[in-house]
Amino acid sequence: MEKRVLFRSSWLPYLLVAPQVAVTVIFFFWPASQAIYYAFQLQDAFGLESRFVGLANFQDLFHDDRYFESFKTTAIFSGLVACSGIGISLVLATMADRVVRGALAYKTLLIWPYAVAPAIAGVLWAFIFAPSIGIVTYALQKLGIDWNWIINGDQAMLLVVIASVWKQISYNFLFFLAGLQSIPKSLIEAAAIDGAGPFRRFWTIVFPLLSPTTFFLLVVNIVYAFFDTFGVIDATTQGGPAQATQILVYKVYYDGVKAADLGGSSAQSVILMAIVIALTAVQFRFVERKVQY
Protein backbone atom coordinates (compact mmCIF):
# COMPACT_ATOMS: atom_id res chain seq x y z
CA MET A 1 0.00 0.00 0.00
CA GLU A 2 1.53 3.27 -1.09
CA LYS A 3 0.40 6.87 -1.18
CA ARG A 4 -0.36 8.29 -4.61
CA VAL A 5 0.20 11.85 -3.54
CA LEU A 6 3.73 12.65 -2.47
CA PHE A 7 5.87 15.57 -1.58
CA ARG A 8 9.27 16.11 -3.03
CA SER A 9 12.35 17.23 -1.22
CA SER A 10 15.90 16.01 -1.37
CA TRP A 11 16.75 16.73 2.24
CA LEU A 12 13.56 17.05 4.30
CA PRO A 13 12.72 13.35 4.66
CA TYR A 14 16.23 12.65 5.92
CA LEU A 15 15.91 15.40 8.47
CA LEU A 16 12.59 13.97 9.61
CA VAL A 17 13.85 10.45 10.10
CA ALA A 18 17.19 11.54 11.54
CA PRO A 19 16.24 11.56 15.26
CA GLN A 20 14.62 8.16 15.05
CA VAL A 21 17.52 6.73 13.10
CA ALA A 22 20.10 8.26 15.43
CA VAL A 23 18.51 6.85 18.57
CA THR A 24 17.99 3.50 16.91
CA VAL A 25 21.57 3.23 15.76
CA ILE A 26 23.14 4.40 19.02
CA PHE A 27 20.96 2.52 21.46
CA PHE A 28 19.90 -0.36 19.34
CA PHE A 29 22.18 -1.44 16.53
CA TRP A 30 25.42 -0.53 18.22
CA PRO A 31 24.62 -2.39 21.48
CA ALA A 32 23.18 -5.35 19.58
CA SER A 33 26.36 -5.62 17.53
CA GLN A 34 28.41 -5.27 20.71
CA ALA A 35 26.44 -8.16 22.21
CA ILE A 36 27.38 -10.29 19.24
CA TYR A 37 31.00 -9.19 19.51
CA TYR A 38 31.23 -9.89 23.25
CA ALA A 39 29.69 -13.29 22.72
CA PHE A 40 32.97 -14.38 21.15
CA GLN A 41 35.18 -12.81 23.79
CA LEU A 42 36.40 -13.76 27.22
CA GLN A 43 36.91 -10.77 29.47
CA ASP A 44 37.78 -10.21 33.08
CA ALA A 45 35.35 -8.15 35.13
CA PHE A 46 37.18 -4.85 34.71
CA GLY A 47 37.72 -5.21 30.99
CA LEU A 48 41.49 -5.10 31.47
CA GLU A 49 42.01 -8.14 29.32
CA SER A 50 39.92 -9.42 26.51
CA ARG A 51 40.55 -12.35 24.29
CA PHE A 52 38.85 -13.89 21.26
CA VAL A 53 37.64 -17.34 22.20
CA GLY A 54 35.59 -18.28 19.17
CA LEU A 55 32.54 -20.30 20.03
CA ALA A 56 33.75 -21.23 23.51
CA ASN A 57 31.05 -19.22 25.26
CA PHE A 58 28.38 -20.97 23.24
CA GLN A 59 29.97 -24.35 23.83
CA ASP A 60 29.99 -23.67 27.55
CA LEU A 61 26.32 -22.85 27.41
CA PHE A 62 25.41 -25.98 25.55
CA HIS A 63 27.38 -28.09 27.98
CA ASP A 64 25.67 -26.43 30.90
CA ASP A 65 22.60 -28.37 31.94
CA ARG A 66 21.62 -25.31 33.99
CA TYR A 67 21.11 -23.44 30.78
CA PHE A 68 18.76 -26.12 29.53
CA GLU A 69 17.03 -26.05 32.90
CA SER A 70 16.49 -22.36 32.33
CA PHE A 71 14.93 -23.09 28.94
CA LYS A 72 12.64 -25.59 30.56
CA THR A 73 11.75 -23.15 33.33
CA THR A 74 11.02 -20.45 30.77
CA ALA A 75 8.83 -22.82 28.75
CA ILE A 76 6.85 -23.91 31.80
CA PHE A 77 6.56 -20.37 33.07
CA SER A 78 5.42 -18.81 29.82
CA GLY A 79 3.10 -21.74 29.13
CA LEU A 80 1.42 -21.31 32.50
CA VAL A 81 1.25 -17.53 32.24
CA ALA A 82 -0.15 -17.57 28.71
CA CYS A 83 -2.69 -20.35 29.19
CA SER A 84 -4.07 -19.38 32.56
CA GLY A 85 -4.05 -15.69 31.67
CA ILE A 86 -5.92 -16.29 28.42
CA GLY A 87 -8.32 -18.77 30.01
CA ILE A 88 -9.33 -16.53 32.89
CA SER A 89 -9.64 -13.47 30.68
CA LEU A 90 -11.80 -15.32 28.17
CA VAL A 91 -14.22 -16.36 30.90
CA LEU A 92 -14.39 -12.83 32.30
CA ALA A 93 -14.77 -11.26 28.87
CA THR A 94 -17.55 -13.67 27.88
CA MET A 95 -19.40 -12.83 31.09
CA ALA A 96 -18.85 -9.10 30.64
CA ASP A 97 -20.17 -9.37 27.09
CA ARG A 98 -23.32 -10.98 28.50
CA VAL A 99 -24.24 -8.51 31.16
CA VAL A 100 -25.89 -5.26 30.27
CA ARG A 101 -26.10 -3.64 33.65
CA GLY A 102 -22.80 -2.54 35.16
CA ALA A 103 -20.73 -3.53 32.13
CA LEU A 104 -18.66 -0.36 32.23
CA ALA A 105 -18.09 -0.63 35.96
CA TYR A 106 -16.85 -4.20 35.63
CA LYS A 107 -14.60 -3.19 32.79
CA THR A 108 -13.12 -0.32 34.78
CA LEU A 109 -12.54 -2.50 37.80
CA LEU A 110 -10.83 -5.17 35.75
CA ILE A 111 -8.45 -3.12 33.63
CA TRP A 112 -6.49 -1.13 36.20
CA PRO A 113 -3.87 -3.81 36.99
CA TYR A 114 -2.45 -3.09 33.54
CA ALA A 115 -1.12 0.14 35.03
CA VAL A 116 0.84 -1.64 37.77
CA ALA A 117 4.54 -2.13 37.11
CA PRO A 118 5.57 -5.79 37.02
CA ALA A 119 8.03 -5.21 39.84
CA ILE A 120 5.30 -3.72 42.01
CA ALA A 121 2.92 -6.53 41.12
CA GLY A 122 5.66 -8.86 42.36
CA VAL A 123 6.05 -6.95 45.61
CA LEU A 124 2.29 -6.96 46.24
CA TRP A 125 1.90 -10.67 45.76
CA ALA A 126 5.11 -11.50 47.58
CA PHE A 127 3.77 -9.58 50.55
CA ILE A 128 0.43 -11.40 50.53
CA PHE A 129 2.22 -14.73 50.22
CA ALA A 130 5.17 -13.86 52.49
CA PRO A 131 6.27 -16.99 54.36
CA SER A 132 5.89 -15.65 57.88
CA ILE A 133 3.66 -12.57 57.74
CA GLY A 134 1.57 -13.08 54.60
CA ILE A 135 -2.18 -13.00 55.00
CA VAL A 136 -2.77 -15.75 52.44
CA THR A 137 0.05 -17.80 53.94
CA TYR A 138 -1.84 -17.61 57.21
CA ALA A 139 -5.04 -18.79 55.58
CA LEU A 140 -3.19 -21.61 53.84
CA GLN A 141 -1.67 -22.70 57.13
CA LYS A 142 -5.13 -22.86 58.63
CA LEU A 143 -6.01 -25.20 55.77
CA GLY A 144 -2.98 -27.31 56.60
CA ILE A 145 -0.85 -26.21 53.66
CA ASP A 146 2.74 -25.40 54.49
CA TRP A 147 3.53 -22.41 52.32
CA ASN A 148 7.14 -21.26 51.95
CA TRP A 149 8.19 -20.24 48.46
CA ILE A 150 11.62 -19.25 49.77
CA ILE A 151 12.57 -22.91 49.72
CA ASN A 152 9.79 -24.63 47.77
CA GLY A 153 10.49 -24.23 44.05
CA ASP A 154 7.00 -25.17 42.88
CA GLN A 155 5.41 -22.63 45.17
CA ALA A 156 7.90 -20.00 44.01
CA MET A 157 6.88 -20.74 40.43
CA LEU A 158 3.23 -20.51 41.36
CA LEU A 159 3.82 -17.14 43.00
CA VAL A 160 5.53 -15.57 40.00
CA VAL A 161 2.88 -17.03 37.68
CA ILE A 162 0.06 -15.57 39.78
CA ALA A 163 1.68 -12.15 39.93
CA SER A 164 2.41 -12.16 36.21
CA VAL A 165 -1.06 -13.35 35.20
CA TRP A 166 -2.76 -10.86 37.50
CA LYS A 167 -1.05 -8.01 35.71
CA GLN A 168 -1.82 -9.34 32.25
CA ILE A 169 -5.50 -10.25 32.70
CA SER A 170 -6.68 -6.75 31.90
CA TYR A 171 -4.85 -6.72 28.61
CA ASN A 172 -6.26 -10.06 27.46
CA PHE A 173 -9.68 -9.11 28.74
CA LEU A 174 -9.85 -5.96 26.62
CA PHE A 175 -8.86 -7.78 23.46
CA PHE A 176 -11.35 -10.58 24.04
CA LEU A 177 -14.08 -8.11 24.80
CA ALA A 178 -13.36 -6.19 21.60
CA GLY A 179 -13.32 -9.49 19.72
CA LEU A 180 -16.62 -10.59 21.23
CA GLN A 181 -18.29 -7.30 20.49
CA SER A 182 -17.28 -7.47 16.84
CA ILE A 183 -19.06 -10.80 16.32
CA PRO A 184 -22.27 -10.07 14.42
CA LYS A 185 -25.25 -10.54 16.70
CA SER A 186 -27.24 -11.94 13.78
CA LEU A 187 -25.00 -15.03 13.72
CA ILE A 188 -25.71 -15.76 17.37
CA GLU A 189 -29.40 -15.08 16.95
CA ALA A 190 -29.60 -17.43 13.99
CA ALA A 191 -28.00 -20.17 16.06
CA ALA A 192 -30.37 -19.46 18.94
CA ILE A 193 -33.34 -19.81 16.64
CA ASP A 194 -31.94 -23.16 15.52
CA GLY A 195 -32.14 -24.16 19.15
CA ALA A 196 -28.46 -24.06 20.10
CA GLY A 197 -27.96 -23.36 23.81
CA PRO A 198 -25.51 -20.74 25.09
CA PHE A 199 -22.69 -23.24 25.68
CA ARG A 200 -23.04 -24.82 22.30
CA ARG A 201 -23.18 -21.43 20.67
CA PHE A 202 -19.99 -20.47 22.45
CA TRP A 203 -18.05 -23.50 21.28
CA THR A 204 -19.39 -23.69 17.74
CA ILE A 205 -19.61 -20.02 16.84
CA VAL A 206 -18.01 -17.63 19.26
CA PHE A 207 -14.83 -19.47 20.07
CA PRO A 208 -13.86 -20.23 16.45
CA LEU A 209 -14.47 -16.61 15.54
CA LEU A 210 -12.25 -15.55 18.41
CA SER A 211 -9.41 -17.80 17.33
CA PRO A 212 -7.40 -15.06 15.58
CA THR A 213 -7.61 -12.97 18.76
CA THR A 214 -6.66 -15.97 20.86
CA PHE A 215 -3.68 -16.76 18.70
CA PHE A 216 -2.55 -13.17 18.73
CA LEU A 217 -2.86 -13.07 22.51
CA LEU A 218 -0.94 -16.31 22.80
CA VAL A 219 2.05 -14.79 21.05
CA VAL A 220 1.80 -11.53 22.98
CA ASN A 221 1.53 -13.38 26.28
CA ILE A 222 4.52 -15.54 25.51
CA VAL A 223 6.59 -12.49 24.65
CA TYR A 224 5.32 -10.87 27.85
CA ALA A 225 6.31 -13.90 29.91
CA PHE A 226 9.72 -13.99 28.25
CA PHE A 227 10.72 -10.39 28.89
CA ASP A 228 8.34 -8.16 30.77
CA THR A 229 8.15 -10.43 33.78
CA PHE A 230 11.74 -9.66 34.67
CA GLY A 231 10.51 -7.17 37.26
CA VAL A 232 8.18 -9.70 38.84
CA ILE A 233 10.98 -12.19 39.28
CA ASP A 234 13.60 -9.75 40.44
CA ALA A 235 11.25 -8.31 43.05
CA THR A 236 10.21 -11.71 44.41
CA THR A 237 12.25 -14.88 43.95
CA GLN A 238 15.31 -13.51 42.11
CA GLY A 239 15.40 -16.73 40.15
CA GLY A 240 15.48 -18.97 43.21
CA PRO A 241 15.14 -21.19 45.08
CA ALA A 242 17.78 -23.31 43.41
CA GLN A 243 17.05 -21.70 40.02
CA ALA A 244 13.42 -22.84 40.09
CA THR A 245 12.26 -19.53 38.62
CA GLN A 246 15.33 -18.52 36.65
CA ILE A 247 13.94 -17.68 33.24
CA LEU A 248 16.26 -16.90 30.33
CA VAL A 249 16.10 -13.12 30.63
CA TYR A 250 16.88 -13.29 34.30
CA LYS A 251 19.88 -15.48 33.61
CA VAL A 252 21.22 -12.99 31.05
CA TYR A 253 20.96 -10.26 33.64
CA TYR A 254 22.33 -12.36 36.45
CA ASP A 255 25.34 -13.71 34.57
CA GLY A 256 26.16 -10.39 32.98
CA VAL A 257 25.57 -7.99 35.84
CA LYS A 258 25.95 -9.92 39.05
CA ALA A 259 28.37 -12.64 38.00
CA ALA A 260 30.35 -10.25 35.75
CA ASP A 261 30.55 -12.86 32.99
CA LEU A 262 30.14 -10.60 29.99
CA GLY A 263 30.96 -13.22 27.37
CA GLY A 264 28.58 -15.86 28.68
CA SER A 265 25.83 -13.34 29.16
CA SER A 266 26.26 -11.92 25.67
CA ALA A 267 26.19 -15.38 24.15
CA GLN A 268 22.84 -15.89 25.86
CA SER A 269 21.66 -12.54 24.54
CA VAL A 270 22.47 -13.64 21.01
CA ILE A 271 20.50 -16.85 21.45
CA LEU A 272 17.58 -14.92 22.93
CA MET A 273 17.63 -12.51 20.01
CA ALA A 274 17.28 -15.45 17.64
CA ILE A 275 14.30 -16.71 19.62
CA VAL A 276 12.53 -13.34 19.61
CA ILE A 277 13.14 -12.87 15.93
CA ALA A 278 11.52 -16.23 15.32
CA LEU A 279 8.58 -15.34 17.55
CA THR A 280 8.13 -11.98 15.88
CA ALA A 281 8.26 -13.58 12.47
CA VAL A 282 5.41 -15.87 13.49
CA GLN A 283 3.44 -12.92 14.78
CA PHE A 284 4.18 -10.85 11.71
CA ARG A 285 3.07 -13.53 9.30
CA PHE A 286 -0.12 -13.88 11.25
CA VAL A 287 -0.71 -10.14 11.25
CA GLU A 288 -0.07 -10.00 7.49
CA ARG A 289 -2.66 -12.66 6.88
CA LYS A 290 -5.20 -10.90 9.00
CA VAL A 291 -4.60 -7.71 7.08
CA GLN A 292 -5.19 -9.54 3.84
CA TYR A 293 -8.62 -10.80 4.71
Binding site: Q20, V123, W166, G231
Partner: protein
Amino acid sequence: MVENRPFLTFVAHAVLIAGVVVVAFPLWVTFVASTLTYEQIANVPMPLWPGDQFLANYGQVLTAGSTKGSAAPVSTMLFNSLVMAVVVAVGKICISIVSAFAVVYFRFPLRRFIFWMIFVTLMLPIEVRIIPTFKVASDLGILDSYLGLTLPLIASATATFLFRQFFMTIPDELAEAARIDGAGPMRFFVDVVLPLSRTNVAALFVILFIFGWNQYLWPLLITGQESMYTVVIGIKRMIVGGDAATEWQLVMATAMLALMPPAAVVILMQKWFVKGLVETEK
Protein backbone atom coordinates in the same frame (compact mmCIF):
# COMPACT_ATOMS: atom_id res chain seq x y z
CA MET B 1 -29.04 -10.00 24.42
CA VAL B 2 -30.16 -12.96 22.42
CA GLU B 3 -32.57 -14.37 24.93
CA ASN B 4 -33.36 -13.81 28.52
CA ARG B 5 -31.88 -16.35 30.87
CA PRO B 6 -31.92 -14.94 34.37
CA PHE B 7 -29.82 -17.76 35.78
CA LEU B 8 -27.00 -17.26 33.29
CA THR B 9 -27.08 -13.52 33.85
CA PHE B 10 -26.81 -14.20 37.55
CA VAL B 11 -23.83 -16.50 36.97
CA ALA B 12 -22.21 -13.85 34.79
CA HIS B 13 -22.54 -11.27 37.52
CA ALA B 14 -21.26 -13.70 40.13
CA VAL B 15 -18.19 -14.58 38.04
CA LEU B 16 -17.46 -10.94 37.32
CA ILE B 17 -17.81 -9.92 40.93
CA ALA B 18 -15.54 -12.75 41.97
CA GLY B 19 -13.05 -11.64 39.33
CA VAL B 20 -13.15 -8.04 40.47
CA VAL B 21 -12.67 -9.07 44.09
CA VAL B 22 -9.71 -11.34 43.37
CA VAL B 23 -8.12 -8.70 41.18
CA ALA B 24 -8.63 -6.00 43.79
CA PHE B 25 -7.59 -8.08 46.79
CA PRO B 26 -3.84 -7.36 46.60
CA LEU B 27 -4.59 -3.66 46.25
CA TRP B 28 -6.79 -3.70 49.33
CA VAL B 29 -4.20 -5.56 51.41
CA THR B 30 -1.55 -3.13 50.22
CA PHE B 31 -3.64 -0.16 51.16
CA VAL B 32 -4.48 -1.60 54.57
CA ALA B 33 -0.85 -2.48 55.26
CA SER B 34 0.16 1.07 54.38
CA THR B 35 -1.99 2.39 57.22
CA LEU B 36 -0.71 0.05 59.94
CA THR B 37 2.32 -0.03 62.20
CA TYR B 38 5.07 -2.56 61.62
CA GLU B 39 4.01 -4.45 64.73
CA GLN B 40 0.45 -4.78 63.48
CA ILE B 41 1.69 -6.29 60.21
CA ALA B 42 4.18 -8.59 61.89
CA ASN B 43 1.55 -9.84 64.29
CA VAL B 44 0.02 -12.55 62.07
CA PRO B 45 -2.67 -12.34 60.82
CA MET B 46 -2.60 -8.68 60.05
CA PRO B 47 -5.93 -6.86 60.24
CA LEU B 48 -7.85 -6.42 57.01
CA TRP B 49 -9.25 -3.04 57.99
CA PRO B 50 -7.22 0.19 57.72
CA GLY B 51 -5.42 1.45 60.79
CA ASP B 52 -4.54 4.96 61.88
CA GLN B 53 -1.00 5.27 60.54
CA PHE B 54 -1.98 6.62 57.16
CA LEU B 55 -0.53 10.08 57.64
CA ALA B 56 2.49 8.85 59.56
CA ASN B 57 3.53 6.27 56.96
CA TYR B 58 2.86 8.36 53.88
CA GLY B 59 4.47 11.38 55.47
CA GLN B 60 7.52 9.32 56.34
CA VAL B 61 8.07 7.89 52.86
CA LEU B 62 7.33 11.11 51.03
CA THR B 63 9.78 13.15 53.04
CA ALA B 64 12.40 10.74 54.30
CA GLY B 65 12.10 7.34 52.64
CA SER B 66 12.57 4.24 54.76
CA THR B 67 14.64 4.28 57.90
CA LYS B 68 16.50 1.04 57.28
CA GLY B 69 17.01 0.60 53.56
CA SER B 70 17.28 3.44 51.12
CA ALA B 71 16.64 6.81 52.74
CA ALA B 72 15.75 8.69 49.59
CA PRO B 73 12.42 10.50 49.90
CA VAL B 74 9.69 9.04 47.72
CA SER B 75 8.62 12.50 46.58
CA THR B 76 11.92 12.83 44.70
CA MET B 77 11.36 9.38 43.21
CA LEU B 78 7.85 10.28 42.10
CA PHE B 79 9.23 13.36 40.42
CA ASN B 80 11.87 11.26 38.64
CA SER B 81 9.23 8.76 37.55
CA LEU B 82 7.08 11.55 36.22
CA VAL B 83 9.95 13.06 34.26
CA MET B 84 10.84 9.68 32.88
CA ALA B 85 7.27 8.77 31.90
CA VAL B 86 6.54 12.11 30.27
CA VAL B 87 9.85 12.43 28.45
CA VAL B 88 9.72 8.87 27.17
CA ALA B 89 6.12 9.27 26.02
CA VAL B 90 6.57 12.67 24.42
CA GLY B 91 9.94 11.74 22.96
CA LYS B 92 8.66 8.58 21.38
CA ILE B 93 5.63 10.33 19.95
CA CYS B 94 7.69 13.20 18.52
CA ILE B 95 10.37 11.20 16.79
CA SER B 96 7.85 8.63 15.59
CA ILE B 97 5.31 10.98 14.12
CA VAL B 98 7.87 12.84 12.02
CA SER B 99 9.62 9.71 10.83
CA ALA B 100 6.29 8.10 9.95
CA PHE B 101 5.38 11.24 8.04
CA ALA B 102 8.62 11.03 6.09
CA VAL B 103 8.17 7.37 5.30
CA VAL B 104 4.57 7.80 4.13
CA TYR B 105 4.67 11.10 2.27
CA PHE B 106 8.09 11.04 0.64
CA ARG B 107 9.85 8.74 -1.74
CA PHE B 108 13.56 8.78 -1.19
CA PRO B 109 16.47 6.43 -1.59
CA LEU B 110 17.03 4.42 1.60
CA ARG B 111 13.34 4.70 2.44
CA ARG B 112 12.81 0.95 2.52
CA PHE B 113 16.08 0.47 4.32
CA ILE B 114 15.15 2.93 7.06
CA PHE B 115 11.69 1.47 7.33
CA TRP B 116 13.10 -1.99 7.94
CA MET B 117 15.73 -0.67 10.25
CA ILE B 118 13.04 0.75 12.48
CA PHE B 119 10.96 -2.36 12.12
CA VAL B 120 13.74 -4.63 13.34
CA THR B 121 13.85 -2.80 16.67
CA LEU B 122 10.40 -4.19 17.32
CA MET B 123 11.98 -7.57 17.75
CA LEU B 124 14.50 -6.94 20.46
CA PRO B 125 13.28 -5.68 23.79
CA ILE B 126 15.83 -3.83 25.84
CA GLU B 127 16.14 -6.76 28.24
CA VAL B 128 18.00 -8.76 25.63
CA ARG B 129 20.70 -6.23 24.87
CA ILE B 130 20.82 -4.74 28.32
CA ILE B 131 24.51 -5.13 29.11
CA PRO B 132 25.92 -3.60 25.92
CA THR B 133 23.32 -0.82 26.05
CA PHE B 134 24.51 -0.05 29.54
CA LYS B 135 28.05 0.06 28.24
CA VAL B 136 27.05 2.52 25.52
CA ALA B 137 25.31 4.73 28.06
CA SER B 138 28.37 4.63 30.28
CA ASP B 139 30.65 5.45 27.34
CA LEU B 140 28.45 8.43 26.56
CA GLY B 141 28.68 9.53 30.18
CA ILE B 142 24.93 9.67 30.69
CA LEU B 143 24.65 7.30 33.65
CA ASP B 144 22.75 8.79 36.56
CA SER B 145 21.07 11.45 34.46
CA TYR B 146 17.62 12.07 33.06
CA LEU B 147 19.08 11.81 29.60
CA GLY B 148 20.40 8.33 30.30
CA LEU B 149 17.16 7.34 31.95
CA THR B 150 15.02 8.27 28.97
CA LEU B 151 16.93 8.49 25.71
CA PRO B 152 17.69 4.77 25.19
CA LEU B 153 14.01 3.93 25.71
CA ILE B 154 12.85 6.37 23.07
CA ALA B 155 13.95 4.04 20.30
CA SER B 156 10.94 1.94 19.43
CA ALA B 157 9.08 0.99 16.37
CA THR B 158 5.56 0.62 17.75
CA ALA B 159 4.64 4.28 17.64
CA THR B 160 6.11 4.74 14.17
CA PHE B 161 3.96 1.90 12.92
CA LEU B 162 0.83 3.20 14.49
CA PHE B 163 1.31 6.57 12.85
CA ARG B 164 2.22 4.99 9.54
CA GLN B 165 -0.97 2.94 9.58
CA PHE B 166 -2.98 5.99 10.48
CA PHE B 167 -1.42 8.25 7.82
CA MET B 168 -2.29 5.63 5.24
CA THR B 169 -5.95 6.22 6.03
CA ILE B 170 -5.75 9.99 5.56
CA PRO B 171 -7.45 10.63 2.19
CA ASP B 172 -5.05 11.56 -0.60
CA GLU B 173 -7.37 14.39 -1.53
CA LEU B 174 -6.24 16.36 1.49
CA ALA B 175 -2.61 16.25 0.45
CA GLU B 176 -3.64 17.01 -3.11
CA ALA B 177 -5.57 20.06 -2.00
CA ALA B 178 -2.68 21.24 0.12
CA ARG B 179 -0.34 20.91 -2.82
CA ILE B 180 -2.66 22.82 -5.12
CA ASP B 181 -2.83 25.57 -2.49
CA GLY B 182 0.94 25.68 -2.68
CA ALA B 183 1.47 24.48 0.87
CA GLY B 184 4.77 22.75 1.53
CA PRO B 185 5.07 19.44 3.31
CA MET B 186 5.68 20.96 6.74
CA ARG B 187 2.69 23.28 6.39
CA PHE B 188 0.57 20.23 5.47
CA PHE B 189 2.03 18.34 8.43
CA VAL B 190 1.23 21.09 10.90
CA ASP B 191 -2.15 22.16 9.50
CA VAL B 192 -3.63 18.83 8.49
CA VAL B 193 -1.77 15.80 9.77
CA LEU B 194 -1.20 16.90 13.35
CA PRO B 195 -4.81 17.95 14.06
CA LEU B 196 -6.07 14.71 12.53
CA SER B 197 -3.67 12.70 14.69
CA ARG B 198 -4.88 14.18 17.95
CA THR B 199 -6.77 11.16 19.22
CA ASN B 200 -4.01 8.84 18.16
CA VAL B 201 -1.47 10.94 19.99
CA ALA B 202 -3.63 10.96 23.10
CA ALA B 203 -4.15 7.21 22.98
CA LEU B 204 -0.49 6.58 22.43
CA PHE B 205 0.48 8.96 25.18
CA VAL B 206 -1.53 7.00 27.72
CA ILE B 207 0.12 3.71 26.76
CA LEU B 208 3.61 5.15 26.60
CA PHE B 209 3.20 7.04 29.86
CA ILE B 210 2.47 3.76 31.60
CA PHE B 211 5.33 2.10 29.75
CA GLY B 212 7.75 4.79 30.89
CA TRP B 213 6.50 4.95 34.45
CA ASN B 214 6.76 1.21 34.91
CA GLN B 215 10.27 0.74 33.53
CA TYR B 216 12.35 -1.38 35.84
CA LEU B 217 15.47 -3.04 34.50
CA TRP B 218 16.90 -0.01 32.74
CA PRO B 219 16.59 2.45 35.63
CA LEU B 220 17.79 -0.29 37.96
CA LEU B 221 21.07 -0.45 36.07
CA ILE B 222 21.56 3.14 35.15
CA THR B 223 20.73 4.89 38.40
CA GLY B 224 23.32 4.58 41.12
CA GLN B 225 22.52 7.67 43.09
CA GLU B 226 19.46 7.75 45.26
CA SER B 227 18.53 11.16 43.91
CA MET B 228 17.95 9.56 40.50
CA TYR B 229 15.85 6.58 41.60
CA THR B 230 12.44 6.17 40.09
CA VAL B 231 9.74 5.03 42.44
CA VAL B 232 9.66 1.48 41.07
CA ILE B 233 13.37 1.12 41.83
CA GLY B 234 12.95 2.82 45.19
CA ILE B 235 10.58 0.10 46.35
CA LYS B 236 13.05 -2.58 45.46
CA ARG B 237 15.79 -0.75 47.36
CA MET B 238 13.60 -0.50 50.43
CA ILE B 239 13.08 -4.24 50.47
CA VAL B 240 16.77 -5.10 50.37
CA GLY B 241 17.15 -3.71 53.84
CA GLY B 242 20.51 -5.26 54.74
CA ASP B 243 20.56 -6.58 58.27
CA ALA B 244 17.18 -5.20 59.16
CA ALA B 245 13.62 -6.37 58.72
CA THR B 246 11.79 -4.84 55.79
CA GLU B 247 9.51 -2.06 56.92
CA TRP B 248 6.49 -3.37 55.09
CA GLN B 249 4.19 -0.54 56.09
CA LEU B 250 6.51 1.92 54.34
CA VAL B 251 7.07 -0.34 51.35
CA MET B 252 3.33 -0.69 50.95
CA ALA B 253 2.75 3.06 51.24
CA THR B 254 5.37 3.55 48.53
CA ALA B 255 3.74 0.85 46.41
CA MET B 256 0.43 2.68 46.65
CA LEU B 257 2.09 5.93 45.63
CA ALA B 258 3.84 4.18 42.77
CA LEU B 259 0.77 2.58 41.30
CA MET B 260 -1.77 5.34 41.77
CA PRO B 261 -0.59 7.72 38.99
CA PRO B 262 -0.62 5.18 36.14
CA ALA B 263 -3.80 3.56 37.48
CA ALA B 264 -5.47 6.95 37.54
CA VAL B 265 -4.36 7.58 33.99
CA VAL B 266 -5.84 4.26 32.88
CA ILE B 267 -9.13 4.79 34.62
CA LEU B 268 -9.64 8.47 33.84
CA MET B 269 -8.55 8.17 30.24
CA GLN B 270 -10.15 4.79 29.72
CA LYS B 271 -11.42 5.50 26.23
CA TRP B 272 -8.01 6.54 24.93
CA PHE B 273 -6.30 3.83 26.87
CA VAL B 274 -8.36 1.11 25.23
CA LYS B 275 -7.91 2.66 21.82
CA GLY B 276 -4.18 2.99 22.33
CA LEU B 277 -3.80 -0.54 23.59
CA VAL B 278 -5.74 -2.13 20.78
CA GLU B 279 -4.11 -0.06 18.07
CA THR B 280 -0.48 -0.23 19.15
CA GLU B 281 -0.61 -3.98 19.10
CA LYS B 282 -2.22 -4.38 15.73
